[in-house]
């Protein structure tokens, strides 16, 4: 399966279609990540090639790749604790609307070396340029960069491995062929993940290609989750029944009188 994708890509890279600009082709090692009972995280491999022909102008600075992986969006609350009457209580909170649950920004060198800050901001590239919509009463606006809630949100997400920015996350194997690994920690949320691969040359965005993969619970995990969500009452009764059975079993096994 993996080999056939690779071969297909190799064929694509090899077949020279008439084009004046570069074309970007990419694929991921798997498009479906199963969360089963032995799931402890996974690592996907993204690979791709830059297609060029005789008419393509030579790029003096070489090519740069920035791949952004965005997980399913969630409304997340960030709480801040304060001391009230001697104890620490969640006092303030901010809601970040439709924030990515997972975000990885992978590149072959530091982002500010690839493009200028204006371009990065316009393309929303990098954690610093992530638009985090914050709800304040009725208005929804992007949060300020120095906002302590935003900073802490990004920091906690990074600590959990759910947000990451890797300046050496993309490796060029040949000048026109690259690979990147997408690390998925054990706590990745299930859902659809979008992968956006951008090709830069001489600080300009010259090509872009999307890809995607899905993280889903499978087998027993899926059955349990679906039962808990859709048939809460029966699930609860079954769990309680299981408790009674376990208790009865123990009292029979260890019975001494």
């Amino acid at each position: 399966m993996q080999r056939t994708i690779l071969l297909a890509i190799a064929a694509l890279v090899a077949s020279a279609e008439p084009a004046t600009a570069e074309r970007l082709v990419a694929s991921i090692s798997t498009h479906r990540v199963m969360v089963t009972s032995n799931f402890t995280g996974d690592e996907l491999v993204l690979f791709g090639g830059i297609e060029r022909d005789a008419a393509t102008v030579p790029r003096r600075g070489g090519y740069d790749i920035v791949a952004t992986v965005t997980g399913p969006r969630q409304n997340l609350v960030t709480f801040r604790k304060k001391r009230v009457l001697g104890i620490w209580v969640n006092v303030d909170s901010r809601v970040f609307e439709a924030a990515p649950s997972y975000l990885a920004v992978l590149s072959n060198r530091p982002l500010d070396a690839i493009a200028n800050s204006e371009t990065l901001r316009r393309l929303q590239l990098g954690l610093d340029n992530l638009v985090l919509l914050q709800r304040a009463s009725v208005n929804i606006a992007d949060s300020a960069r120095e906002d302590p809630f935003r900073q802490s949100f990004l920091r906690i997400k990074r600590e959990h491995g759910l947000y990451r920015q890797e300046e050496n996350g993309v490796t060029f194997l040949t000048p026109a062929l690259f690979r990147a690994s997408i690390p998925l920690p054990a706590e990745v949320p299930v859902g659809n993940y979008e992968v956006d691969i951008r090709l830069f040359a001489d600080s300009n965005l010259i090509a872009r290609t999307p890809s995607a993969f899905e993280v889903y619970k499978a087998g027993f995990e899926q059955v349990v989750t679906a039962a808990a969500r859709d048939h809460g009452l029966f699930y609860g009764l079954a769990t309680a029944g299981m408790a009674l059975l376990t208790g009865w079993f123990a009292s029979v096994v260890f019975r001494r009188d």
Binding site: N38, W88, F153, E187, L233, A238, T239, S251
Partner: protein
């Protein structure tokens, strides 16, 4: 040709970077995180041992331990309920065989207990949506464990000193009445040989059900002293009856938490149960070798220690002032 070599390189590196298989890790479907199955099993055994030794459910130990492992307080509270149901059922069955259960009194306590549990689950849901669940659980633990633990230590030390000095142990005086005995709706409970009003019985049931649902504890360590001090119930029937109440309130808390909050992790619960019911059997044998006062002193110290641990958590400057949580749909 060069591309071919590069692709071979890609395939090779994929192999070395592939998933490492850890057989002891199991992914919990509702808690959404992998845990070491042996750690959970060992916790179940240890808490089961303590619960069997003292005749309590052990929820007040298990819930904090799970939170410490990184399981969210909400999932911990909801899942521990089913674990306590299992160990109390196993205990109740052996007391049933010894005819040490007052079913009539148990049913009266239950009437209050079910209402209390429903109120507790409602408050739990409400607090969770307000983002104040953790702090409420924390403060309640400190207050409850501090007071109960302190009282138990003082009482048991006094009892130990009394027996040291050779004074006779204070016996239950059948004639002694408190204001509780003046309340209406009086009922006679034959097996426990007491004649009390139904109102304090309902009230005790309500408190245990309520506290249990909010804090993820069975309330055995609360119920036993309450039955002895307020209702003057004889010790012969008190533990068995308390286990029946714990069983029903915790089983219904499991169902209600599952139906309203969808937070019961059956996989986690099953591992805890397996360890818990086994540990409880060995604990019960160890407990029979100790005197009642010693046992109460030990339990009191344990309860107090957990309470102090929670108090430190609330008072000390937290490691991280910020925390993230998904926004609940219900708000």
């Amino acid at each position: 040709m060069q591309a071919g070599a590069a692709i071979a390189d890609l395939l090779h590196s994929r192999g070395s970077n592939g998933r490492t298989f850890k057989p002891v890790q199991i992914y919990l479907p509702i808690a959404d995180l992998p845990v070491n199955i042996f750690v959970i099993l060992a916790m179940g055994l240890a808490v089961g041992f303590i619960s069997g030794m003292f005749g309590i459910g052990g929820g007040f130990l298990m819930t904090p331990l799970l939170i410490f492992l990184g399981i969210s307080p909400a999932v911990a509270v909801a899942s521990v309920a089913s674990h306590i149901a299992a160990s109390s059922f196993s205990g109740a069955l052996s007391y049933w065989r010894r005819r040490a259960i007052d079913l009539a009194l148990g049913f009266m306590l239950l009437a209050g207990g079910i209402v209390g549990t429903a109120c507790g689950v409602w408050l739990f849901t409400k607090l969770r949506s307000l983002g104040q669940l953790d702090i409420t659980i924390g403060v309640s633990y400190v207050l409850l464990l501090g007071i109960v633990g302190g009282l138990m230590v003082v009482e048991s030390v006094r009892a130990i000193l009394r027996t040291r000095q050779g004074k006779p142990v204070e016996l239950r005086r059948p004639g002694s009445h408190t204001w509780l005995h003046g309340l209406p709706f009086k009922l006679r409970f034959k097996r426990s040989r007491i004649y009390v009003s139904a109102i304090p019985v309902w009230a005790i049931g309500f408190i245990i059900g309520f506290v249990g649902a909010v804090m993820g504890i069975g309330g055995g360590f609360l119920l036993v002293p309450m039955l002895i001090y307020f209702l003057r119930m004889p010790t012969a029937t008190v533990i068995g009856t308390s286990m029946v109440l714990t069983l029903v309130t915790m089983a219904s808390a499991t169902v209600m938490h599952a139906a309203t909050n969808h937070l019961v992790d059956a996989v986690l619960a099953l591992i805890l149960m397996a360890g818990g019911v086994t540990g409880a059997q060995f604990g019960a044998r160890a407990g029979q070798k100790m005197s009642g006062e010693r046992l109460r002193l030990l339990l009191g110290l344990l309860v107090l220690a957990v309470g102090i641990r929670f108090a430190l958590n609330l008072v000390l400057v937290p490691e991280d002032l910020y925390s993230i949580r998904p926004l609940e749909d219900g708000t």
